[in-house]
Amino acid sequence: MGELNNVLGFPILSLSIFLPLIGAAAIWLFVHNDQAVRWSALLVSVATFLVTLPLWFSFDTSTHHMQFEEFHPWIETFNINYQLGVDGISAPFILLTSLLTVICVISAWECIAKRIKEYMIAFLVLETTLIGVFAALDTILFYFFWEAMLIPMYLIIGIWGGKNRVYATVKFFLYTLTGSVLMLIALLAMYFEAGNTFSILALMDYPFSFAWQFWIFLAFLIAFAVKVPMWPVHTWLPDAHTEAPTAGSVILAGILLKMGAYGFLRFSLPMLPDASQYFVPLMVGLSLIAIVYISLVAMMQTDLKRLIAYSSIAHMGFVTLGTFMFTQQAVEGAIINMISHGFVAAALFLCVGVMYDRLHTREIGDYGGVVNVMPVFAAVMLLFCMANVALPGASSFIGEIMVLIGTFNAEPVHLGMSTKWVAIAAATSIVLSACYTLWMYKRVIMGDLTKDTVKSMPDMSVREFAYFVPLILLVVWMGLYPLPVLDVMHVSVTHLIEQATTSKDAVAQALAQGLPPTGMH
């Protein structure tokens, strides 16, 4: 381990990981009044968000090397280290996490009636594990946070969820646990093959032969596909979303789903380039199924949250498609899409939460004509529905158009057909997402006031409006001027594509035959 690249000379990543945890412990021990719990949770989450801000302002966009690095030996017996660092791919997600946690805390202010203290603690602990996942540079540390995340999420859905919450949370737990177990196997396999190292950076450089890459890729695929989620292992998501409390859905859609795609970017592509190329047809196929088939499924939903959940799966199809195109535009588009979806899906779930808090139903048929009683809310929801459709001017437009252009221009080796057809098939999503989103909007918001229950709905309070403001600003800002975000990730993505398109198998074969390694960069 050479010099640590940390411009601040201060363990800012550790602080942002452990501040929520310490805050949660303090609340558990010292705060016993419900109102005080709310304020202190808000204080902790805002403080964490402020702590993560230097990741944006002090970020060096000219290098693909890890920044804000930290390194401490942790378990020497197994060569496991507490190694942290971020590059242009992971830094935005940490910011997204700390921002969404603040919003979650505010959104739970009134609607969580029972056990608010435990609820806030669970969210702060969840924040710790999520930031940990994105900051970890040691695979076991990564796994550590990845798995630990299950516990607060399991409790959040199981305690504060809807009627069928226990079924949903057990399903969520078992699906993701099975995937994680396979990931652990893959991590151990890489550890043994690469000479007893868990360092993500070292594993990126180790020349795995194709046979190794093949199996490790499959294990990772299952682990990440469950999290993304990709068809056909997506079935836990609609249940989990439907039953989770609003803020649970927000974190689930905003951050948790990104972890799977982040796994592809951090592990599969750079560590297993040959296998990633080899599996392009499979990944493209699954992504297109998610985009087209799941969009059609979304159209037929009668439950608002289920509809948005399916819409999330379809949008994540765009992300996996862009990821496996190996072009600068497509991968950057995929990341923009992830961030943008973090705002948009989070906002849509918050919108549903606002309505649910008033009528306590998620059925589309129970609403109608909401615009007459909640004009401000209708405008806000319209904005996010348009963003969900990827209307120009919204952040999702940038992401989707970049994925489509990148796909159109890509030439993956193993696909066996022109990617133009793939791009055309994926483009149908623009029509399909418009269908299900706008149809939903029409049935819920527009029309005449025919239901007495809807007539009594008050418009948004200031508190409710407050947590939409940052999301509105971010969606529009990224939609109109995405350059700063692209700048952050640009060099890192270039480096990632270079890694993903350089064959490791050739190096491994050369090494096996005793030839000097060539082709390593």
Binding site: W74, I75, E76, T77, F78, R115, E118, Y143, F144, E147, A148, L150, I151, Y154, L155, G158, I159, R165, V166, T169, V170, F173, L174, L177, T178, V181, L184, I185, L188, F192
Partner: protein, 486 residues
């Protein structure tokens, strides 16, 4: 002053000091109990705890980096024996603390604690044995006391039934063990582990029927004692029927002793048969992990569920023994140490919990506990997640260590099967969490309020989390504990 000369060489007794203390105190408590008025019988429990603490101190003081022999080489105190003794004594302290409230209403409670000390003495003797007879003596002392303890609640039918089953099957297992030992004695002319090992090594012909029979019978006898499938049949019944503190005690301490002596036997006496015992152990491990983790899913009684969970865990621990070498044996010790804490913690919560004055033992009885006692609920959740092997808790590193060791030793498939069954196992552990956190309370809780037990639960939970976050010290200790044997 004239030198006192003994007519015979005075035996070396320093290494046996902890055992001597325990033996003397167990007898003292037994007699003292007779003179105590009924309302002060509880004092015997505190005396037993004090004995254990003194024994820990004596063990720490007498154990050195080198092996010390006593009784003409039949007894050894090396770091391995010292460390496993600490685990055994620790498990006994837990057993006594958990009994404080639970056994309050029993008469003549002094003999109960005395029996626990004798059982502990048997185990301490066992892990220090370098000779099959000493090992057998220790094993029988441990087992005989446990048979009585399991059936201690004479007026409870379930308890008596469990004791009888345990006794009959246990005696059969002891017979098998002795029978196996007799084969090895016939072949080598010695009962000393090292001498047997040398004799078997020079035989050269491993396929001899006598060698195979000896090996198989010894393994079968020991597998029974540590409840490895398919020799696990007694476990669920004995666990369910025994007084709960005894269930906790016998779920951990005899396992530690059994695995420790098994490791010593295979290292010293059976090195030439490594290929054979590894094959047998592999099947036992796979079967145990499968039977334990699958059968546990169907249980409604938490004691029965934890019985099957134990079977699954001993399958994992056996992986460490199969892997062998410093890495494998130290992984086994790590697992045993972590298992001690998480299992004891879980049982402590079961004992603390009462429903309308009746000891709650069904999974349903946990429903809604988090609303009444968030602290206990959190602790139980941590123990369950730790048993399931979720990271940041000790159980993860225990599983991790044995799996890594198994892969390094070339048993990739065993490791994969282990990972698979740990995923299956997660299901029934998180189901307990489901009851605690998600279900509504049905019957009123009536928690036992013993401050010593509450402190024990808190300390145990902290230890499980601490090992989960900083496993390195424990791993170092376990590696150092191998000083005497590999």
């Amino acid at each position: 002053m004239a030198n006192i000369t003994f007519p015979f060489p005075f035996p070396v007794i320093l290494p046996v000091l902890p055992e001597i203390i325990v033996a003397v105190m167990a007898m003292v408590i037994l007699i003292w109990d007779l003179f105590l008025p009924a309302e002060r019988k509880q004092w015997t429990a505190y005396a037993a705890i004090a004995t254990c603490l003194v024994a820990i101190d004596a063990t720490l003081r007498t154990t050195g980096a080198d092996a010390q022999m006593a009784f003409y080489g039949q007894f050894v105190l090396d770091p391995f024996a010292g460390f496993t003794k600490l685990l055994i004594i620790g498990a006994t302290i837990y057993g006594i603390v958990l009994s404080l409230d639970y056994m309050k209403s029993e008469k003549n409670i002094g003999e109960y604690y005395s029996l626990m000390l004798f059982s502990m003495l048997g185990m301490m003797l066992m892990v220090s044995a370098t000779n099959f007879i000493i090992m057998y003596l220790g094993l029988e002392l441990m087992a005989l006391c446990l048979y009585v303890l399991v059936g201690y609640q004479r007026d409870v039918l379930r308890s008596s039934e469990a004791a009888l089953k345990y006794f009959i099957l246990g005696s059969l297992a002891s017979c098998m063990l002795l029978y196996g030992i007799s084969f090895l004695y016939g072949l080598s002319g010695s009962l000393d582990f090292a001498a047997v090992g040398q004799a078997l090594g020079s035989l050269g012909d491993n396929s001899s029927m006598a060698v195979s029979l000896g090996l198989v019978f010894i393994i079968a006898g020991m597998a029974f004692k540590v409840s490895l499938a398919p020799f696990h049949m007694w476990t669920p019944d004995a666990y369910e029927g025994a007084p709960t503190p005894i269930t906790a005690f016998m779920g951990v301490a005899p396992k530690v002793a059994g695995f420790a002596i098994l490791a010593r036997v295979v290292i010293d006496a059976l090195p030439s048969l490594q290929a054979d015992y590894v094959t047998i152990f592999s099947w036992l491990a796979v079967l145990s992990m499968a039977v334990g983790n699958i059968a546990a899913i169907a249980q409604r009684n938490i004691k029965r569920m934890l019985a099957y969970s134990t079977i699954g865990h001993v399958g994992f621990i056996l992986l460490g023994l199969i892997a062998g070498g410093p890495e494998g044996y130290s992984a086994m010790l790590v697992y045993l140490a972590v298992y001690l804490f998480m299992n004891m913690g879980a049982f402590a919560i079961i004992i603390l919990m009462r429903r309308e004055g009746i000891q709650g033992e069904l999974l349903d009885d946990f429903a809604g506990m988090s609303k009444v006692r968030p602290g206990y609920a959190l602790a139980m959740g941590l123990f369950m997640f730790s048993l399931a092997g979720i990271p940041f808790l000790g159980g993860f590193w225990a599983k991790y260590a044995v799996l890594i060791a198994a892969v390094h030793a070339g048993h990739l498939y065993l490791a994969l099967i282990g990972i698979l069954f740990s995923a299956v196992g997660a299901f029934y552990y998180i189901r307990v969490v489901k009851y605690i956190y998600f279900d509504e309370e049905r019957v009123a809780f009536d928690f036992s309020e013993n401050p010593l037990m509450q402190a024990t639960v808190a300390v145990t939970a902290i230890v499980v989390v601490a090992i989960g976050i900083f496993p390195q010290p424990l791993m170092d200790i376990c590696r150092a504990a191998l000083g005497g044997i590999v």
